[in-house]
Symmetry: C2
């Protein structure tokens, strides 16, 4: 007989030990390389071919976090993390995840854990006020918010609803439907459209600041109509992944209204910044939006996975996604007084994800989150100033938020060498990418544990390498 | 200035306190009603209208778990939980979730945290051996496993791949495609088919044991072909949600091969039982299956969300779902030597979900999990014997696993009263449902914390109420 996995006193001791381990991990990250040196198969080579037949003690498992896991990680919580977008975590969010795991409830219906639904609705209504988006998006009005696993899921859901709305209105089949987005839009738009069965996706030309041009949208829609196709969905990106380009939400919304298309905003990264009033001008026109998504798991201190999706009107969403078998029937649902979140997305079962967002909003306070966002943006702007003042470097796109996009003046090869040099140092991780055929470096400022000293050290390395 | 949310020593103290709270919560559940008495709006009424401006201490948050959350829960981890299917949790899985939250890595690509991908592939290969499914399903062979958020997502993904395969082969549009499943199949098949844009879904007639009839499948396919439609997808349910009916996997697979349809198995609940050899006869014919899903978060001691999806051949899956933008290009992916799980499902970002499954397999050991499954099945069979020996009760379906389906001999009203009486007591929660127009009671044995004494007490209450 090995240890009993259900022994709660053993759980208490093991959990304390794991908490200590996490404190050491997070506190010690700065002394590790951001990307551990690891080749394909290295991690698996350390694991036995078969699962153990008898129970192992938790000590052995904990030891394998050090032996097997950590040496095989790319440390997203490293203070030197400047790659992709951040995947923020924070102590309050970790506690929220632990509470969720400990409660182990499943909130598919209001009745299967009313608090899971109501805390979620309430916190997302709080965010309507905090981010200054339309009051209509509150669950207490005609719209409402729901937590999805990611912006990909939110966008895919919006595409499905758009398709169903277009079908109801025009009778067109998915193969004849068209989705529109910036050529700089996130790959999830194309993937979501493909998964939803759209026959066509048009990636629109952008201007010199990488914002999609409304004239390009209008022209594409007109051409598709001439060809007998059915324009059904348009996405405005507020902060594209490549360069945080900002599409003209109001102009896209006006075209969407005239053309009866579903208008979705993908603000996966930049949405969190809207907690500060000064960034909201980048999304003027939200009253012309049908759905909106942003990820607190990127830049609002809340662990993966936690993506907000709002709709201005919840009816088409629910009509598209509700399937009611007998074993889920219940009095509360039939009363019409409650939200059953299973009808707001693809999945049925759902953990109590709102806990961690609730914990974060309370332990940071709105002021604390605003301060974090503004600090990251200020550090990014300081980098921009230094780059623009540097003889061998030049920014290639504006920095409306905290992403800095720049290149070496000697061209693609020099830029790639610069990125390789910075990443080769080990203390930092940035992304090399390409836009309009040109290589560039992306520095995304916003890891939870990054300090001004880290940003300065990164700059010194850039300067020395360039 | 309030408390600093990034203070790691405060985090340590707060996490210890939360661990203590969870131990008390789990240890004290038996003294609470399974379903807290709560009306719509009760939970929200306890929350302030606005998010706090300044940071709150974690003490206040922890206190609100008692004040706001717990009185609004339906306690899925209660020892008296016999409703729906279980949503198992366990101390090792809670520790796995905590480790995942603490690491905060994002494994969309192999390169963005190699260990996240490799542990997942490895543990799912372990499960191939543990569950005795085809060796071809291993990532080291032509197939492979991936963790999805739930069976709904796995099934939806399979439907999308089926649609793309059918399109490539026949040129048919989604509106002309047909998906087939038992009339007893889970609602996620219908929902997934709708989300994937299938024009038609046929719910097949079942036999007296609630297994779909292969003759019904063959006849429906023939009729649809006559009507010019394109049969594309068939689901075999191994353990339907209503009564754990078992479709004839081999016969469905033979028809699917002849008709060139994608064959998916939904074993969301019953799949976990396959860790014991004696249940595998219920899924004979797996070599004729294209994809398979089961949820360790139901009956394998692993917290939500954790759903396994296996494919026999990973190529059509990846071809259907891969979209590669420049900012995700990397050497490892281009080498073809690694798995990038973002191409195996809809979402892009993904937490390190495999940790909790790895922790569970190690802390229970295969023997411990087999013993748990066999114990639950034995308790369910004991209930079946008692029901069949009772003058006023009768089972209405077989019990191949640990779900007991029965009714009062006096008819629907008496059955509904029986269910209401049992649930009204507060110590237990069971589900009332309907099949073929007949009301029945569902008792699903399998909550992590249920003991034989709980099952006996439930029986005494049933006996007294009937």
């Amino acid at each position: 007989m090995g240890p009993d996995p259900l022994d709660l006193e053993a759980f208490r001791r093991n959990a304390y030990a794991l908490v200590d381990w996490i404190v050491d991990y997070l506190g010690g990250l700065a002394s590790r390389p951001v990307c551990e040196p690891v080749r394909p198969g290295d991690v698996r080579a350390k694991l036995p071919d078969r699962a153990p037949e008898e129970p192992e003690g938790f000590d052995a498992v904990l030891a394998d976090l050090d032996r097997v896991v950590v040496p095989g990680l790319t440390h997203w919580q490293h203070p030197g993390w400047f790659a992709y977008f951040p995947a923020q975590s924070s102590p309050p969010a970790i506690l929220g995840e632990l509470a969720q795991a400990g409660l182990g409830v499943q909130g598919m219906l209001w009745s299967t854990s009313p608090a899971a639904t109501e805390v979620e609705s309430h916190v997302l209504d709080w965010l309507v006020d905090l981010l200054g988006v339309p009051q209509q998006w509150k669950t207490t009005a005609s719209g409402g918010g729901v937590l999805q696993s990611g912006a990909s899921q939110s966008t895919h859901t919006a595409l499905v609803v758009a398709r169903e709305q277009c079908l109801l209105r025009t009778g067109a089949g998915p193969k004849d439907m068209v989705a529109y987005a910036s050529s700089q839009a996130h790959s999830s738009i194309e993937k979501g459209a493909r998964m939803a069965g759209f026959g066509h996706i048009r990636l629109l030309e952008t201007d010199h600041e990488f914002a999609a041009r409304p004239e390009a949208l209008a022209a594409a829609v007109a051409e598709d109509r001439r060809d007998g196709l059915a324009p059904a969905f348009v996405c405005s990106a507020v902060g594209t992944t490549g360069t945080t380009g900002v599409d003209p939400v109001r102009r896209f919304g006006e075209i969407a209204r005239v053309e009866q298309m579903w208008h979705h905003v993908d603000a996966a990264y930049a949405g969190s910044a809207m907690i500060c009033e000064e960034f909201r001008r980048h999304q003027d026109g939200l009253e012309l939006v049908d759905s909106y998504t942003f990820n607190p798991h990127k830049w609002l201190a809340t662990n993966l996975d936690c993506s907000v999706m709002w709709v201005a009107d919840r009816r088409p969403l629910i009509e598209s996604l509700s399937v009611l078998p007998p074993y889920l029937r219940n009095e509360a649902s039939e009363s019409g007084q409650v939200i059953d979140y299973r009808d707001w997305h693809g999945p049925l079962g759902r953990p109590f994800r709102a806990l961690k967002l609730w914990f974060v909003l309370r332990c940071y306070g709105a002021a604390g989150l605003r301060s974090m966002i503004r600090t990251h943006v200020a550090w990014a702007r300081k980098l921009v100033e230094r780059i623009d003042a540097h003889s061998r470097l030049a920014t290639i796109a504006p920095t409306p938020f905290a992403l800095v996009s720049f290149a070496h003046v000697d061209g693609d090869e020099a830029t790639d060498e610069l990125v390789a040099g910075i990443n080769g140092d080990g203390r930092f991780h940035i992304t090399g990418s390409e836009v309009d055929g040109k290589r560039y470096a992306r520095i995304s400022v916003g890891s939870t544990w990054t300090t001004e000293a880290d940003v300065d050290a990164l700059w010194n390395l850039i300067d020395a390498t360039a």
